[in-house]
């Protein structure tokens, strides 16, 4: 990709910008910390369920432990009498007696243990994948209401004394679990007289899967977690679940509960070592929770609480300049030698350079105009000056620029894609848009031209908050951080470096402690330096909800959205916007340095870039120039230890000798879809790093026990490469095809299991998903139904497979047909899933032959287009080129990644993203644009395209641009306008070509050529 003279405009597209929507009824409900919650008692209940392996996954039996202060008080087995045969019951009884365990029915377990200990004794209730186990011991479920709307409410006991249990899915790793209010008066008469209510006892639930993910930032199965933590009694192996309950099966189940307890113990100790005493571990749902707990432990009051009246328009302005990290392909589907370079803790580093910690601990932020300063800085700044740390301190600015072929992050639906993506492209816009100053500097570096600044705002922190507190890692004074005096991010990274340097080879207790400490610091750094500042939680809006949308333009407008966003506790959009802007600048500097040094780049991904060797350059020269670029960043190191903040990654070095540089090759397909590998002497690829992007939703068609016969085992551990075995093998085949000079044709016959129907596993995590099984569940008892959090299997249809719909009356409106979406009750065997597959949109069974196999699903994996750039289409190869986008109307949107996990598994869901439509000024422009198109295209034609009536089109054209009707219809009208503008442009160019032809050969021959009457052609050409 080159950054010279901008290309001509290649796309005219609406662009999407983030906006900030507040409820109209009043200021957003401020987060108010409730009175300190009483922690759990010294009791712990751990339990686990074993189920049938059919689609109901009903409870067979389970095991539990009750502990007091860690000491085992009671251990037992519980079973469902309805799913256990008399002989199995005898087996259970014999086992329990021989081991001194209690034996209870599931009802007895629920009443005496789950509620008797878990509720009455305020125990911590522990499990692995708790929502699943809870739904197995329940006797009924329904949709939860109120703040748990979107989740489930479970009835566990027929005894009305006991409250229901509510579970709301947050992600595949976390759910909120709590007891509902009991069915009785909570408050005594005295409290009622005072109008007070006793707080509901919500319980204390710790899902070990959740806590492990939050602490280590990676998912674990119970078996892998046992191994990782080195527990004394790891999970056993057992596979014969189809058979009758046996001693071995009960052994396995008892061990599962013990393993869960030991993992919980170790994780609790790890969490305690973080010193985050203000936040109990049952409130830790993710790494972000750890970050928030960290800030809370330091006594930092969230910005939104300290400055609740901060101008929401300025928040809207800030959000409009927010874009995520750069993830792009520079050279597509071309084998290139590269060196992968990675920035040291990118987000904490840019936070340190811009001194953003001052804002986190401030009582608020103040802003002032800085237009002249921004212009002067932009004009004078050079690449060399950017090596100076002092320049970065001045980047705390937002700038309103008038894009004129400048390179900016542009969020748009490139190439008619369903989803908008962000690409660093040339942008021209008639109006002005907000960006960070860092983005403007990046544009100058890449184009040589400074963007025109219309206005700039700089921000400064108000005075420090009082009552900030020191924190200590592991209670160690040597590792204390004083938030009032230290730059928190700087101190974290320095401490981490210091601790890492003390780690010696070997597994001594000292080393283990040091590794734990440095891991703690890594968690703190990752969790406090970005995500929590842009946290927005999306909920379905009630029908009466109305929001005031603050956006990039001047005046906010009202809208009734289908989804609303609630800011997270530490929401601070200024910081999030500045951080990602600065990170993009770092990558742009690297890109510019690469160009200046005659290098190219294959891909970049948020904080890393693969610099590519151009063909004539020798190996040593290449390494030297990459080293030059690495050294360039030494000046920006803000830490006490030396070195550059840009590092050469370990994949650049030999697997056998970490000091020896070896050629590393890259094959990049699209954003986040690439592979890095070495070549053996025989020219065979040895994968070093690969992405599972676009593959992670599929269940592995095979594993290490049944590998592909003709593919060599990976030399490096799969966890280092970053993929599962089958994904590794797919990439090997992609690379082999490229090496053989046939990159479009990847052989997918290397394993028979690739011919099986492709399946994904998901869980029925919401009432909406469970509704798919309404027909299946009709007439069945709760135990026999597909239950909440039960697994389900999704499949895919063959692409050219939809049954054509015959429209009997094409002029009448017809409902848009929903694509077939196959789903099946849980089955790990693709053939079983295929047999039971039905359409979740229509309910009908789906023949096996219409389902897509793994091979078919993966057939175009290696061709996936990079839509945001030119030369990124399916079969294109070589350097991509930046588009030049003429930005049109602005679509104001909310959180882009809402429900991303569900969408990856179940397919893109347009409705998942909060959208706030167009602003009134853009609607006015749209009305004018449509009015302009009317003479060329009839209202009827437009109405037909948009599935509206001509009357609605007419109404829209004459509506007040601020009216609810206009705002509601605007997105549809925008698509309509785009479509007909394209058609108009196409027709104009066709007419132009026709006129030329007529001039060349005459009217009659031209008319004969195209098969029309000469007088008609003449008439048309005169228009």
């Amino acid at each position: 990709m080159t950054a010279c003279n901008p290309p001509p405009i290649t796309d005219e597209l609406p662009i999407s910008l983030r906006a900030f929507a507040c409820p109209v009824t009043g200021p957003s409900k401020r987060y108010v910390d409730s009175a300190p919650r009483l922690g759990a008692s010294c009791w712990t209940l751990i339990f686990d369920c074993e189920t049938t392996s059919d689609d109901a996954q009903r409870l067979r039996f389970g095991t539990y432990q009750v502990r007091e202060s860690g000491d085992l008080i009671e251990e037992g087995i519980f079973f469902d009498p309805a799913s256990v045969s008399p002989s199995e019951r005898r087996t259970l009884r014999r086992y329990a007696k021989s081991k001194g365990l209690q034996l209870l029915t599931s009802d007895e377990f629920v009443d005496r243990i789950f509620y008797g200990v878990g509720y009455r004794l305020r125990a911590t209730i522990v499990g692995f994948n708790l929502p699943f186990d809870i739904s197995r011991i329940a006797i009924e479920s329904s949709s939860a209401r109120g703040s748990m709307r979107g989740g489930f409410s479970f009835e566990l006991s027929a005894d009305k004394r006991w409250p229901r249990l509510q579970v709301k899915h947050l992600s595949s790793k976390a759910s909120i679990i709590r007891f509902a209010a009991p069915f009785k008066q909570r408050s005594n008469r005295s409290m009622q007289k005072k109008g007070r209510k006793e707080a509901v006892q919500r319980g204390y639930f710790v899902d070990v899967k959740t806590l492990a993910f939050a602490l280590f930032a990676r998912p674990f199965s119970l078996a892998k977690l046992c191994d990782f933590l080195g527990v004394e009694n790891p999970k056993k192996e057992f596979k014969d679940f189809e058979r009758s309950i046996s001693t071995e099966m009960i052994d396995y189940a008892v061990r599962d509960t013990q393993a869960t307890w030991e993992c919980f113990e170790k994780l609790s100790a790890r969490y305690a070592a973080l010193g985050l005493n203000e936040t109990s571990q049952e409130r830790i749902y993710s790494e972000a929770s750890v970050g928030k707990a960290c800030l809370k432990a330091m006594g930092i009051v969230p910005w939104r609480e300290r400055q609740p009246d901060f101008d929401p328009r300025l928040i809207g302005t800030t959000m409009s300049g927010y874009f995520g990290g750069r993830s792009e392909i520079g050279i597509r589907r071309e084998l290139r030698q590269v060196m992968l370079c990675d920035f040291l803790s990118m987000y904490p580093t840019v936070c340190t350079l811009m001194r953003l910690w001052r804002f986190v601990i401030a009582t608020g932020i103040k802003s002032r105009d800085a237009t002249d300063e921004a212009r002067a800085l932009l004009e004078s700044v050079s690449l060399e000056e950017l090596q100076s740390k002092s320049v970065w301190q001045n980047l705390v600015m937002l700038v309103r620029a008038k894009p004129d072929a400048d390179i900016f992050p542009v969020r748009a639906h490139y190439n008619h894609a369903d989803q908008a993506t962000i690409g660093l492209n040339h942008l021209t816009h008639d109006g002005s848009l907000w960006f960070t100053l860092a983005d403007c500097i990046a544009s100058k570096l890449l184009t040589g031209k400074s963007p025109e600044i219309i206005q700039a705002i700089t921000f400064a922190p108000k005075r420090k908050q009082n009552a900030l507190r020191k924190i200590r890692i592991n209670g160690n004074d040597d590792y204390a951080i004083d938030p009032a005096k230290d730059d928190f991010y700087k101190r974290l990274i320095e401490l981490r470096h210091e601790i890492k340097s003390k780690i010696t080879p070997g597994d001594s207790p000292a080393n283990r402690r040091l590794k734990t400490e440095q891991n703690t610091l890594k968690i703190w750094a990752n969790s406090t330096s970005y995500g929590i500042f842009v946290e927005l939680n999306v909920e379905d809006a009630s029908s009466k909800a109305e929001v005031l949308v603050h956006h990039s333009g001047d005046e906010p407008y009202r809208k009734k959205p289908s989804k609303i966003e609630k800011p997270g506790t530490y929401f601070h959009p200024l910081l999030a916007t500045l951080i990602t802007g600065a990170a993009r600048l770092m990558l742009s500097i690297t890109e510019r340095l690469a160009v200046e040094n005659g290098l190219e780049w294959s891909f970049c991904d948020t904080d890393s870039m693969a610099l590519a060797r151009p063909e004539p350059m020798g190996q040593d020269e290449f390494a030297a120039r990459v080293q030059y670029i690495i050294d360039w960043f030494s000046g920006l190191n803000p830490y006490a230890f030396g070195g550059s903040i840009l590092k050469s990654e370990s994949v650049n070095y030999s697997l056998d000798d970490p000091q020896e540089l070896v050629p590393l090759y890259c094959w990049a397909v699209s954003a986040k879809r690439y592979v890095l590998f070495n070549l053996t002497g025989e020219g065979k690829p040895v994968l070093r790093k690969a992405s599972a992007h676009g593959l992670g939703h599929l269940r592995a068609p095979y594993d290490e026990e049944n590998p592909a016969p003709d593919i060599a085992k990976p030399r490096d551990a799969l966890v280092n490469i970053g993929v599962e075995l089958w994904q590794h093998d797919l990439w090997v085949k992609v690379v082999e095809a490229a090496l053989a000079g046939k990159p479009n044709q990847v052989n997918l016959t290397y394993h028979p299991n690739l011919q099986l129907p492709a399946i994904s596993r998901y869980a029925a995590t919401s009432p909406h998903l469970l509704k798919w099984f309404d027909d299946h569940n009709k007439g069945r008892s709760y135990a026999d139904r597909v239950k909440p959090f039960g697994f389900l299997t999704t499949l895919s249809m063959k692409r050219v497979n939809e049954t054509p719909t015959i429209l009997e009356n094409p002029h009448k409106r017809h409902p848009s047909s929903n694509p077939t979406k196959p789903v099946s009750p849980y089955a790990d065997d693709p053939e079983v899933a295929a047999r039971n597959a039905f359409d979740r949109n229509g309910g009908g069974a789906i023949p096996r032959e219409r389902l897509q196999s793994y091979a078919q699903s993966l057939a175009q994996y290696h061709l996936h287009p990079e839509n945001k750039f030119l030369n990124g289409n399916w079969l294109d190869r070589g350097p991509t080129e930046r588009r030049h986008v003429k930005g049109g109307a602005i679509q104001n949107i909310g959180k882009e990644a809402n429900e991303w996990e569900k969408q990856v598994m179940l397919g893109f869901d347009r409705d998942a993203q909060p959208t706030f439509g167009l602003s009134p000024s853009d609607i006015l422009g749209l009305q004018q644009s449509l009015a302009h198109l009317l003479p060329t295209f009839s209202k009827t034609a437009m109405a037909e395209f948009a599935q509206l009536t001509p009357v609605q089109i007419e109404r829209f054209l004459s509506a007040d641009c601020r009216s609810a009707f206009a705002i509601e219809l605007a997105p549809k009208m925008l698509k309509l306008a785009q479509h007909f503008r394209r058609r108009a442009a196409t027709e104009r160019s066709e007419l132009k070509a026709l006129r030329r032809r007529v001039e060349e050969i005459g009217l009659r021959p031209a008319a004969r050529e195209i098969g029309c009457d000469p007088s008609n052609l003449n008439r048309r050409l005169k228009v």
Binding site: S41, I73, E74, L121
Partner: protein, 122 residues
């Protein structure tokens, strides 16, 4: 259920829940037995919700002192009145604490003094 004294454990957890602490302690005398600990309102019940843990004996004493606090005045500034009564209640607690401190100090002095045989008592 094999949890020993389950009913007692339930009562204990209920009591701890009411006290709002898993490890309550009397702020004046150091008593830790949850069975005799109460939530005392220093500013007097109905005036302010802030509570302190005190044992039953100390609670009796400070509650008696509260009876001599100025009576409720409907015309008083609510916030100032509440703060003032809280301070009075805190003072009562501190008086008890000071008494206890003196007792401890005297006991220590006695312990430190040599026994009739010339050696310090241990």
């Amino acid at each position: 259920m094999t949890i020993p004294d389950y009913a007692k454990e339930v009562r204990k957890q209920d009591r701890l829940h009411k006290l709002g602490s898993n490890h309550p302690i009397c702020g004046t005398c150091g008593e830790t037995d949850y069975r005799c600990l109460d939530n005392h309102h220093p500013a007097d019940y109905g005036r302010d919700e802030a509570t302190a843990h005190v044992c039953a004996n100390c609670h009796r004493k400070v509650s008696d002192e509260q009876k001599d606090h100025p009576a409720f005045d409907p015309d008083a500034d609510v916030l100032l009145d509440r703060i003032a009564h809280f301070l009075l209640g805190l003072a009562d607690l501190l008086v008890l604490a000071v008494e206890k401190l003196r007792e401890f100090a005297m006991a220590l002095i006695e312990r430190a003094s040599p026994d009739p045989d010339g050696e310090a008592q241990s």
